[in-house]
Point group: C2
Chain length 582, copies 2
């Protein structure tokens, strides 16, 4: 080793030892009589102190020549610092150098390598190798490593076998768009990169592997949003001879383990919420339950506290939903107008926003014209609104109003400081519908995927009322983020075949795309189920960040480009020809 210690290692007990450190020059401060070099590596920072009256001219000159990010090797004596600092772990000591060697020089970096940097996003992506030198960024990837390690330790201890499934597989038009790979040896044919190892893990269950997991790259050729990457990582798991309850318990155990090992947080038993309840109370299937502010129905679900008062908007509405923004009575007219515009945005499509305040023992509402104090009192009661509260009301077609109110609830939660990134509120959302009707092409799609099993008691509805069939499907939601999801699978060829029928596959299409799986079901498939966690997202959640990109060493930008290596790029025409592409 070129060093005897790392830059994060030396303590008071090392005093008088002769040591050698290697690292990057974080900065040099030159006060004439004294000159300090902050030397940085992955493990920390150590101060090198050059006392100019006690040091050879050669070393002083060299020290003065050092630029930011130079790579140096310093041999010297560990000394007790005169002015100690507890800002860094090595703050009790400094190194009196006996020799300094420049291992490599550096141009001035295009942005500062500090926790707070002056580099913009694009610049930091282009020089990702410099961005990764920043402690904050490196810590995110160290966290990722820790999460992976804790995941493996837990699952290994539970007899799961990690099995690598292939990356070069077969394209299936169902679902998101595949990335494809032209085959040179089979001209005109293509491999696809997996969107998930779904069918392979099911085949492993057929193969009797019993408990499988894999931390695995998956791929989706979708138009990218801020929080999507063309390649992403899943913790993919599957078990045999289980029921839904077993899966929930096992992976609740995993997540508790991760919280404890990575965050030092003990998590209670995860609450369960049905999809129905999540939609009714939070307007979305991944409720942020760090805060309440649940929906109150002024109209709908058998209640009507708004009818017969000649307020046409509410009279025409299928549902009138209110949330109580506790303590927000002092929202200004301007703020409320802004909220109104926000809910009217085409993304939410609301006609407007009604509100009332509980202020000085009475109620002030934007619908005062139609509703008396007594009416409002009933509303307040329904919303548990008391002095100082602000109640926000949306109305319209139920599902649409729920979704808009779900968004508004999150916005208000954010503004009211109720979405503390250091607080974690995980839960299971269960009993998802099996199918989703798509108005555009007038057919049902699998809400989860075509291998999800219906609840046995709902199978009778498969033909008569497909939309009402509930699935043995579940999502784990933490802080409003779906971190994982899965289902109990169909393991019977006839039922799988019926599912493909329902989803509009012809027999031929089903056979062509999934024949190998249905064939496998002929040879003794065990009852099985599983789930997959979005690993990037789980890491970003643990790190308290919104963006998964920070937790990926070399992410792509929103055009799917790696701006550092400049990929994708054109390839040589010889390559094109070999692949039969030209």
């Amino acid at each position: 080793m070129l060093r005897t210690h790392t830059c994060g290692e030396l303590r008071i007990q090392n005093i008088n030892e002769t040591i050698t450190l290697c690292g990057w020059v974080q900065g040099v401060r030159d006060k004439g009589a004294l000159l300090w070099i902050d030397l940085r590596d992955r493990y920390g920072i150590t101060q090198i102190t050059v006392e100019t009256d006690k040091t050879s001219g050669e070393i002083i000159d060299l020290a003065r020549s050092l630029g930011r990010e130079y790579v140096v090797k310093v041999t010297g004596i560990v000394s007790e610092r005169y002015s100690k600092t507890d800002k860094i772990a090595t703050g009790d000591v400094e190194i009196i150098p006996q020799s300094i060697e420049i291992l490599n020089r550096s141009l001035t970096p295009p942005f500062t390598i500090e926790d707070e940097t002056d580099g913009g996003d694009e610049l930091r992506m282009k020089y990702r190798y410099l961005d990764l030198r920043r402690t904050e960024v490196r810590n995110k990837l160290q966290l990722r490593h820790q999460v992976a390690k804790a995941t493996r330790n837990f699952l290994d201890a539970q007899d799961f076998i990690e099995v690598e499934t292939p990356v070069l597989i077969k394209s299936t038009p169902e679902g998101a768009r595949d990335f494809v790979v032209p085959s040179r040896m089979n001209e005109g044919q293509f491999y696809a990169l997996p969107q998930s190892p779904q069918t392979f893990k099911q085949l492993l269950m057929v193969a009797g592997f019993d408990r499988y997991y894999q931390i695995v790259k998956c791929f989706r050729d979708e138009d990218l949003r801020a929080d999507r990457q063309p390649e992403f990582t899943q913790i993919d798991c599957e078990m045999s001879f289980i029921e839904q309850e077993d899966i929930l318990n096992m992976f609740e155990g995993l997540v508790k383990h991760l919280f404890e090992k990575v965050k030092g947080i003990k998590i209670d038993k995860l609450p369960r919420m049905t999809y129905h309840e999540a939609m009714e109370s939070y307007g979305c299937d991944k409720p942020d339950t760090r805060f309440g502010m649940k929906f109150n129905y002024l109209k709908g679900n058998g209640v009507d506290l708004v009818g017969g008062k000649n307020f046409g908007v509410f009279d025409a509405a299928e549902a009138v939903i209110a949330i109580n923004a506790k303590g927000c009575f002092n929202y200004t007219r301007k703020q409320l107008d802004e909220l109104t515009e926000w809910v009217k945005d085409p993304k939410r499509g609301m006609g407007g926003l009604i509100y009332f305040r509980c202020e000085n023992g009475s109620f002030k509402s934007s619908a005062d014209k139609f509703y008396s104090t007594e009416d409002l009192q009933k509303w307040a009661l329904a919303c548990d609104a008391t002095e100082g509260d602000l109640v926000l009301v949306l109305s319209g077609v139920k599902e649409k109003a729920q979704k808009a109110m779900g968004d508004l609830r999150l916005l208000m939660g954010e503004r009211m400081g109720l979405r503390d990134k250091n607080k974690f509120s995980p839960l299971w959302v269960v009993d998802f519908p099996l199918l989703e009707f798509n108005e555009e092409d007038g057919r049902y799609y699998a809400m989860h995927h075509p291998f999800t099993s219906p609840k046995p008691e709902d199978i009778v509805l498969l033909e008569s009322d497909p939309g009402a069939v509930r699935a043995n499907a579940y999502d784990m939601v933490i802080n409003g983020v779906e971190v994982g999801g899965g289902s109990i699978r169909i393991f019977n060829k006839e039922l799988q075949s019926r599912m493909f029928d329902l989803l509009g596959f012809t027999k031929e299409e089903a056979q062509n795309q999934f024949g190998f799986l249905m064939n496998a079901f002929e040879y003794g498939a065990p009852p099985h189920g599983g789930l997959a966690f979005g690993f990037d997202r789980l890491c970003s959640l643990f790190g308290g960040s919104e963006s998964i990109r920070d937790y990926i060493a070399f992410p792509k930008n929103n055009s799917g480009r790696d701006v550092m290596i400049d990929a994708p790029s054109v390839i040589e025409s010889k390559q094109m020809k070999e692949l039969g592409l030209k």
Copy 2:
């Protein structure tokens, strides 16, 4: 859980417990009064015993209806077996069933699910999910999991961080052929799948990550041989602030750890052998050192024991090399003729084979005409050949004769039973040449890759005698298999640039393909180096198998096809259009 225990778990101390097992019917033996079902899962086999006079007719009928590979759930009482067996871990007990439930039926499998199966290769690949049910096959994948786990444990403990590098990268024409992925969002451009994360791990070192590893899929679009797969897995590692010695020690430590944890074998310090010595003594750079039979030079390397006797073949030869096949004096003429044909095969290209036997105190040689007993005595001395030995001699151009003799040595080792797959002989081969001259296109190629650093003392030869420059490159070889290799890298832009020049890159090509790396070297790259192990090969070696395919859950065949899922395949014309391919 549908079961209380696994099929490998019950012991004598479980007697009288009521338990439930799930598994596959391995077989049913019906003796009328008694009927046995062998129930199998990943963990073992348990015998279910139906005593027909004590069991309900329903259960008996059901038991009689069970076919091979049916999936069943059995509840019953654990009983002590009358005739115990130590062939299976549960051999002391049997289950007296109270209920049997068929969870799924099975068609008759196309081959027997036994250690020795009647299925041919193609059939087993097509039904890989059934092949994987065979204990022998599953054990190989369990071994793979164990090797991965032990690898991670070791490297984690040494402060290595696992970092995932991207799969969608940039194509580089240097090296093997890339698989490419057309980009929909950047029409006409392509990603490439990585042949290794080489440049990314070097960038991680520039980023100060210090110790990196990854167990990672890599891809090569090569014409496949039996032991090659288009996708394969590496244990990829890199370290900073190290010298070659540190890398060798670290990864010698890893391999010792793996041998101990996975095989229970303690390995001594790994011997080191230079590339030169390996070629001189074994005729290849990955010598199988489980046995000796080293080369003896009858001519060449400053020796000449064959000249001046009018044997034109030897007189014309640059080198005459002999190996001593100890105790093989009784090789028949037929056997020796066959060996002669074997070395004359165009792959080896030898003109013939000379031999002599030490038999009854004298020597019998195929070159008796030219050489006296005294001559042969000298040869015998050089080869340490004594009574009962057979010495095989090849001659010709040195390098060619070395290679052919290397092959012959392995063949003889095999025949003489010296290549015991339960014996492990690891070593380091060091001091590889930096460059290889290619006669065909009259230029030098990097022997390892263009990022490998020359030995500092050889840098002066870079322009004058490039072929003589030795690299700081090393391979780990076990039993004649190169399981890993790596190098100390160039970390200086000028030297890297000179290397690209030497390899015939124009400045533009170098900048276009590796500009990002050379730019990174401008910003304080640390001294670094690393290596990669072929994970599939390491596993197959640990498992005592020649083929890596057995250690891959879903391998491709020699045409790069997955015959189970039938990939690659044609894709929809809509997909082709979106990708701008039609």
